[in-house]
Structure formats: C-alpha cells, structure tokens
C-alpha cells in the first residue's frame, strides 16, 4: 500500500496533453479478463462525459487453449470530446497482454501508434503458441511503434504479495493493473471501478482486495514509471442533456421489447432457441419475470416461433429472437402467420454466413431472406436497427407495426450492433409511443363475426382472442375467403387475397416517417445505407466533407415498405452509392423498385466497415 495514493488520483503530476479523441484496444487471452477491463474503462469514460462507442471482439465459439491465436479476445473503445459514430477504424493505443494478442491485433495499429505490452508474457512457450519464430520485442519489428514494455504480471504479483490469494488468483488481477495504468494515462475516474470490484467480489474479500490493489498499482505505476511521460485529457462531449447510460445493442433490444410490452399492455412471450449472437436477449428477458415476461427456451427454432405464434393467437406480444441459421428454420411458420394475419416479431441478429459461417462476426446479408424467404407471395414488413441504442426504438416500432397491422414483422440487428455499445440517452417512459391495441369483442362488430373483415384504413383484420364469448372461429394456413375466413379455393378470391396481403404491408408506408436526407442541397452523390452501418457510413460522410467533398447521406431503417418518398429522394441524385456488408442486397431492392443505377460498395469481411474505406469509396465516385 506504500506507494499508492488514494482519493485524489485524478491529479497526476506529469505534463498533460489535450486530445479530442482516442481509440484504445485491449487485447489478451480469453482468460485475461479483457472484456471486463474494457467494460470498466467504458464506464469510467461514460462517467467522464465523453461520447464513446465500443466494440468487443470475442474469440470464435469455444475457449481455445490459453495463449493460442484463436483464443485472443479484444475490446475496443473510441471516446472523444465530440459526438462520434463508431468504435474507431483503428486503435491509437493497443494493449497486448500476450504474444498471440500482439500478433492478431498489430496489423490494425497504424505505424507510430502506441503499444503497451505485458513483457512477462513473451515467454518462449507463448511465442511459440503465437507462431512467432523470434521475439518481436527484440527483433526490431516493432521499431515503428511507441512501445511500452510493462512487466504487468510480475508487477501485479509484487503488488499483491501480502494479499491472501493464490498465485493464480493474483496473476488473474493483471487486467486490473492494466486498467489502472490506462485509467491514469487518460484521467479516468476510479471510484466507480473500485466500488464495482468490491461489490462484484463481495463474497470473496481477498479477491476484491487483490483486484482493487492491482488497479491502484497500475495507476501508481503510470505515475512513477519513467516510461510514461505525459498523460492525456479528453474534454467531455457536448451531448444533449439528460440521463445517460452505456448500452449494448442486445440490451437495448431487450429493453425495447419490455417497453413494447408495457406500452401495448400485452404480456411479452419470447420463444427462442439459443444462438450466437442472439442468445443474450433470451438470457436478459428470462430475468424479467417481474414484468410478467414468459421466456420459452424451445427445443428448436421452429418450436420457438410456433410457440410465439400460439401466444399471439392468445393475445400476447409474441416474439422470437434468432440469427440466420435459426431464422431460415422459422420461415414456414412465419408464412402461416402471414395467412393467419396475427402479430408476431421475428428478430434476426445477423451474423456472417452462409451456413454456420462465422458465428461471432457481423454481416447484413439476411435482408433478402427476410423479404423473400417464404414459399409463395408472403409479404412481411422489415425494419432494421441502426445503432446499439437505436435497437430500443426499433423494437418498439416493430411491435407497433405488428400489432396495428396484425402481421409478422422482421427486425434486423447484427452482431456489431448487438455487442457494440454507446452512451444512450434514457428516454422518458411517459413519452414512449402508446402502442395499445384493441381485441375484438362482441361489441366491436355488427352482425355475424367475420374474422377476415378488415379495417378500412389499415386493412388489419380483427384480433379475437380465445376467451372472448361469441367470437369462436377457426383459422388456418389454407387460403381464406375474404371476410369469412373460411377455406376457399376460389381463383378470384385467391388473387384478391394475395393482393390484399401485399397491399396491407405496402400501405404501412403511409404510417412511417419519410426518408430524411443529410445534405446541403448541391450534392450529386447520395450514399444510401441501412441497418447497422449507420455509424461508419455517417462517419465516412463527415470525413469526405472535412476534405471538401460533397456527399449526401440517407439511411433506411424501413426496408419493407420503403418510406414513401424513397423514389423521389433517389431520383434527385445523379449517383447513388449503397455500402453494404453483403454482395448488394439493398442495391437489388432499390434498383428493382426504382430503376436507379445504385452502385454497391460491398465488403463481406465479418467486420464492421471502416469510415476511412467508405470515405475512399465515396471520393471515388465524386
């Protein structure tokens, strides 16, 4: 405890440099606690009032052997004194806890970037596991970087030598040492982390003590070591006033579903089968029994959507959450929901494919699947979330459409939104949209009850739930006669019903906002994006503008139907660039619908776009 200062750690004596933003990446073995370090750094940063954006990078699928290349886990945070849009194209600072982390992450660090490595981890065995033939700390290959070699492990052990923990436990605290050092370097507040650690390890006080001590030791190391000569200050960002929290997309989605349940007055029923990267929504909501949420971990995705549809039939807000390989299995049942005209939410947290693909990596290649992945003409509204926090609103909006129009609705998220985080202005519950709906009852209709008599405006059919006296009726997947809903093979009725179902969905265009364009008025190039690429695309647009380029930007959250002015917007521009993490799916849709020569910028790398590559692509079209 000797050389550790206490309360006022926020005033270090070394020179301070002001910067407007930084991107830091923590990287280490899965067992090194990088996600925790990253999350804590994020919280500290949020409390500082910086704007921020984060992106974890999990190892694929299972825990690989310690020290191996596939076992590397990363966490990137971008924070600044102004509003930002992405977790950053590339880190300014890379913290590498072992050789494997260095090897897999170094390619992203620009020359002259800052590199902090745990020197103790560069043993022969670890170097070999990382497939290094020479020690990069010694062979000159890092000469272009600002390298700080810190003996993180031994310093941690030294700091904890009086604490009653095993050597292994002590070693495991080295992530907190690293966090302490980084916190010092960037003037992060420390109280939050200390009380977090004390609470987290409440039941094991020595562990709590070890972690707190390691954290403080890291801070002190920064202060005392010759190796670090300046610290950095990033002023708070000017964000709209209000109460904020940091939120990841999957969390926001879960909260949005809860809000939809509260605001519709309908109990939430979630049918799901675990699948990366969607499982977390099921996990989150399974804790929300206090909201009356029913979560059903089904035997497979077919049962999951089936149960959700059954719950909808009974008057619940039926939802199912999955990812591509699971979503394909649900399509037959979604087709049934189209014919039954019952509300249903299908949430697809997209991941890289085809087939099993790369389960932890993002992609936005399920758009056409959502549009057309069912037999015959089976139209379904499709909306997509654009930012981690936006997942909240997207969930409510998807529920609103499903309930009002009695239709299954697809909500597309992706692995990038799901796991990425950003500060989120917590909305006022009272101002959330009222999405309550009305069940049919004996009073709501004249004469015989016709389960397929439609509302003139929305074309929605009545939702008469079991338990309602006098409205007993039967529905099913055979073609329905208009009005009565009886089985019908009449050719003209079929044609009529096929069109009605299509019109109902198309008609939603009147009930959603117009497509907004971010423009000055004199641009020739429009960048049209959708879904989870909002941040990088808008950041790319700003880059181009900073360099004097003229580019307009429109972002689609509604994919089916498109906002009613979409055609007008597109036709106003000479050139249209559509960046997508697929081979051109939105491009296909707008080309077919509006006959505009939309050009794709397509990269399918299982990684979010970088704003720099997008800026290049835009410039290429100017």
């Amino acid at each position: 405890m000797l050389y550790l200062r206490d309360r006022d750690m926020a005033a270090p004596p070394k020179p301070v440099e002001k910067v407007d933003g930084v991107v830091i990446r923590f990287a280490g073995d899965s067992g090194d606690g990088m996600q925790l370090a990253g999350a804590r750094f994020t919280s500290e940063t949020a409390m500082m009032g910086n704007d921020l954006s984060t992106l974890p990078d999990f190892p694929a699928e299972i825990r690989a052997p310690a020290g191996s290349l596939p076992g590397v886990s990363g966490f990137q945070i971008h924070f600044s004194d102004h509003d930002i849009l992405t977790p950053g194209d590339e880190p300014n600072v890379l913290v590498a806890m072992n050789p494997a982390a260095l090897r897999t992450n170094l390619r992203d660090l620009p020359r002259s970037g800052t590199l902090i490595v745990n020197r103790d981890a560069f043993t022969d065995r670890n170097l070999e596991k990382a497939r290094y033939t020479a020690n990069p700390l010694e062979d000159g290959s890092l000469d272009d970087y600002h390298v700080h070699e810190v003996p993180l492990t031994s310093l941690t052990l030294e700091a904890l030598k009086d604490v009653e923990v095993t050597k292994r436990e002590a070693e495991r605290s080295k992530n907190m040492f690293a966090l302490g050092l980084m916190s010092w370097l960037y003037h992060r507040p420390t109280e939050g982390t200390i009380s977090y650690l004390e609470k987290k390890f409440q039941s094991r006080p020595p562990i709590a003590e070890a972690n707190v001590l390691a954290f403080k030791a890291g801070w002190a190391y920064g202060e005392t070591s010759e190796d670090f000569r300046v610290t950095y200050e990033i002023a708070p960002a000017k964000l709209p006033p209000g109460t904020y929290r940091n939120i990841r997309g999957n969390q926001a989605l879960s909260l949005g579903l809860l809000a939809a349940s509260v605001k519709s007055g309908l109990p939430l029923f979630l049918g799901a089968y675990p699948i990366t990267p969607a499982s977390e929504i099921l996990e989150d909501l399974s804790r929300r029994k206090d909201f009356g949420v029913r979560t059903f971990q089904a035997e497979d995705e077919i049962a999951a959507v089936g149960a959700a549809l059954g719950a909808s039939f009974g008057g619940a807000l039926g939802v199912c959450t999955s990812s591509g390989p699971g979503v394909v299995l649900k399509m037959e049942t979604i087709g049934l929901a189209v014919t039954l005209e019952l509300p249903l939410l299908i949430i697809d947290v997209q991941r890289a494919g085809p087939s099993t693909g790369m389960p932890t990596k993002p992609e936005q290649a399920d758009l056409l699947l959502a549009m057309w992945g069912r037999n015959a003409e089976s139209p379904v509204p499709v909306i997509a979330a654009s930012t981690p926090g936006g997942c909240f609103d997207a969930a409510i909006e998807a529920a609103r459409i499903a309930l009002k129009y009695r239709t299954p609705v697809f909500l597309l998220s992706d692995a990038y939104l799901a796991n990425g985080s950003e500060p989120w202005l917590i909305p006022d519950v009272d101002f959330l949209p009222d999405i309550s709906t009305r069940f049919a009852d004996a009073e709501s209709h004249e004469g015989d009850f016709l389960p397929y008599r439609r509302d003139a405006e929305t074309l929605a059919r009545p939702w008469a739930i079991p338990g309602t006296p006098g409205l007993e009726h039967r529905i099913g997947g055979l073609e329905k006669a208009d009005g009565t809903g009886n089985v019908s093979y009449d050719p003209d009725n079929h044609d009529h019903m096929v069109r009605l179902r299509a019109q109902k969905v198309a008609g939603i265009a009147a009930d959603i906002p117009e497509l907004a364009v971010d423009e000055q008025g004199d641009e020739e190039l429009l960048v049209l994006s959708w879904g989870g690429t909002y941040g990088p695309v808008q950041a790319g647009v700003r880059r181009v503008r900073n360099d004097g380029g003229k580019v307009a930007h429109a972002h689609l959250g509604y994919l089916n139907p498109f906002p009613r002015n979409t055609g007008d917007v597109l036709r106003r521009f000479e050139k249209i660039l559509v960046p997508e993490m697929n081979l051109g799916q939105l491009s296909k849709l707008v080309r077919a619908e509006f006959l505009v020569d939309a050009v794709g910028y397509n990269r399918v790398r299982g990684l979010p776009f970088r704003s720099s590559e997008l800026a290049e692509a835009m410039k290429g079209m100017l």
Partner: protein, 343 residues
C-alpha cells in the same frame, strides 16, 4: 380439468352446440367421424364455456378437426401443433387447449415437438388419430405402418420398423398415456373424461380406420378377445366370452410382462394394473404386449401420474418474482446500472 367459465352463467350445452357451420369433409366411412361425434358428445361434460376451449391441429385428414368444432381453433402447419399449443397454453392457463394430430403429423414431421411437450408436461390434451397411413397425401406409409407395408412409396414393402406411440410417449416422460379406438364411443368417452381431468400433457393414441387407404388395420382390436382393457387396480385379464380362453397378464421373472392363460397360472398370479405408479416401467412393459395391433392389445390408461405442470410453474415463477421483487417498473429498469447526467 380447468374449472369454471370465467364468471359467465353456466348454460348446459349439448353436443350440437359444439358443431360448427362447416360441412364435414372426410371420406364417407372414415373413422374420423366417430371420433368427432365422441368429442362433440363429451364436450358439454367439460363444463367449460366454448370460448375458453381451443383446438389446434397440424396438417392431415385428422387435422381438419378444428374446423368442425364450434370453439376457437387453428389448423396450423404440418407437425407443429404441439409447439403452437405450447405457446398458447403456457401464456393462457385459463384456456382448455386440445391438440388433434395424425400419425404422420405427430410422429413423423412433428415427433420432436411431441416428445418435448410430453417431457415438459405442458397442459395439453393430445389426441393422436393413428390410421397407420398418410391419408391426406393419398396413401404413403407412416411411422406406425407395420414393417413390410406395401403402398405407394413402398411398392416392395417398407423397411422401417414402426414406432409404438405408447412406448415412445412413455420414453419421453409422459405423465398421461392412453389408447382407445375410434368406434368404441363409450370407451373413448371415458378416456376423454380422464384426459380432461388430467393436469399436464395427456396423450391418447386413437386407432382410426382410414377406409380408403388402409381399411381394416384395426379390425383385430375390434374383437372382444383381443381387447386387453386396462383398469386401475384390477387384475389384467381378457377374453373368456363365447368359448374363448380367458387370458391374463403376469410379470415375467426376468422383467417385462407376458400373456398367459388364466387357468394355467391361477387368478391370483395376475398382474394388477397400476396406472398411478411413479415408475413408468410397468406401463412401458404393457405397451410392449402388442407392437402393431394384430393380436391382443391393451386399451385404456397406461399411465396417469401427477407432475408439476409447465404452464403452472411458469405462472408461479412470475407470481413469486413479482411478489418478491415487486411488479416491474420500466422507468427504474431503464435507469438501472451506471448512469450519468448531462445538463
């Protein structure tokens, strides 16, 4: 049995009240008619208002059933009725939810949902119309067709050994398993009564004649001498009328049960049926007495035990949590964790 009818005055309904206005469209002579009549005849006894009863089916001839019931109903997709019904039943414990399915629907494409419903003990009444054939698609063999069946897709004889639906259900942890026959109205009605009373998944295999594609498949069990009627607490014996030998069931020393002449072992040696045995082994052993019903075949209730019901547990967990943590407060939840204010 789900009780009451939600406070509405209890009107004594009749079978006719359960007939919908839809024309019944099975082939003349189909066993489905008899089952429909039995179910409609039994329904008034349930004592539940029609609007609180729901029939859910998959696809197949049997699956047209809901159209003919003046209750809520859904003719869903092939094999998925148990899954859909699970969502309905577990979110609406106030309803009486019935699943009608065929041997293809339940045991072929829908096999997985069925076994999972049974292990979960979801509160569903499952009526499986087993005609050992795919009726609707015009006569392909099904997972209950006997080995060597010749039909449209097996012109040289089928190669796959059939399921015994009762054994399968027992292996899947079912709490209530029974068997009946389409035309035996009294027996079927008695089983329906017990099905309705059972809390949790009640599974009934009903032998049903498809007179078009598989006529006479169950003729053997229409004969008295082949009907092993299981009765709780009673010795298991059958036959003995019209000069046939009376036979009975005894436990085999090495495990399992077997059929013997009553005279040869004496009445006291006969096994007494115990449908409520915690251990399903006896029920399972009884199910093995006939693999396909061409000889002596047990009918009745193989197993009827209590186990917590999925839907009830789900409701209770919500109730308890609400009681302990209080009703969820959205505002509080949105503000949970680290927050900070910007002004």
């Amino acid at each position: 049995m789900k009780d009451g009818n939600g406070g509405r005055p209890l009107v004594q309904l009749t079978a006719k009240d359960f007939k919908s206005d839809q024309e019944v469209r099975w082939c003349p002579g189909c066993g489905d008619y008899a089952i429909l009549a039995a179910v409609q005849g039994f329904m008034p006894e349930l004592g539940i208002a029609r609007e609180r009863i729901v029939f859910i089916s998959g696809i197949g001839c049997a699956a047209r059933f809901p159209y003919y019931m003046q209750t809520y109903g859904m003719h869903s997709i092939h094999g998925r009725a148990p899954a859909i019904a699970t969502g309905l039943s577990s979110s609406r414990p106030d309803l009486s939810v019935w699943v009608v399915t065929g041997d293809g629907d339940a045991l072929s494409i829908g096999g997985n949902h069925l076994i999972h419903v049974l292990r979960r003990n979801v509160n569903l009444k499952i009526l499986l119309f087993n005609n050992q054939i795919y009726g609707l698609t015009k006569g392909q063999y099904s997972p209950t067709s006997p080995l060597g069946t010749h039909n449209k897709t097996t012109p040289f004889g089928s190669l796959d050994y059939p399921f015994n639906p009762v054994s399968l259900a027992l292996g899947a942890e079912a709490t209530f398993v029974a068997r009946s026959v389409d035309t035996d109205r009294a027996h079927l009605t008695e089983i329906l009564r017990r099905v309705a009373e059972h809390k949790g998944s009640a599974f009934v295999e009903i032998y049903q004649n498809c007179n078009v594609y598989n006529d006479g498949a169950f003729d053997a069990v229409r004969e008295q001498e082949n009907r092993i009627l299981l009765q709780h607490g009673e010795p298991i014996r059958f036959g003995g009328e019209d000069g046939t030998v009376e036979r009975g069931v005894v436990v085999r020393p090495g495990g399992g049960v077997e059929i013997v002449d009553v005279a040869s072992v004496g009445e006291d040696a006969l096994l007494r049926h115990d449908e409520s045995a915690e251990d399903p082994s006896l029920a399972f052993a009884l199910s093995r007495l006939s693999h396909t019903p061409v000889g002596p075949t047990p009918l009745g209730i193989f197993r009827a035990v209590e186990r917590p019901v999925y839907d009830t547990l789900m409701a209770e967990q919500i109730e308890v949590t609400k009681r302990e943590l209080g009703e969820g407060d959205l505002k509080k939840l949105l503000h949970a964790g680290d927050t900070w204010a910007i002004s």
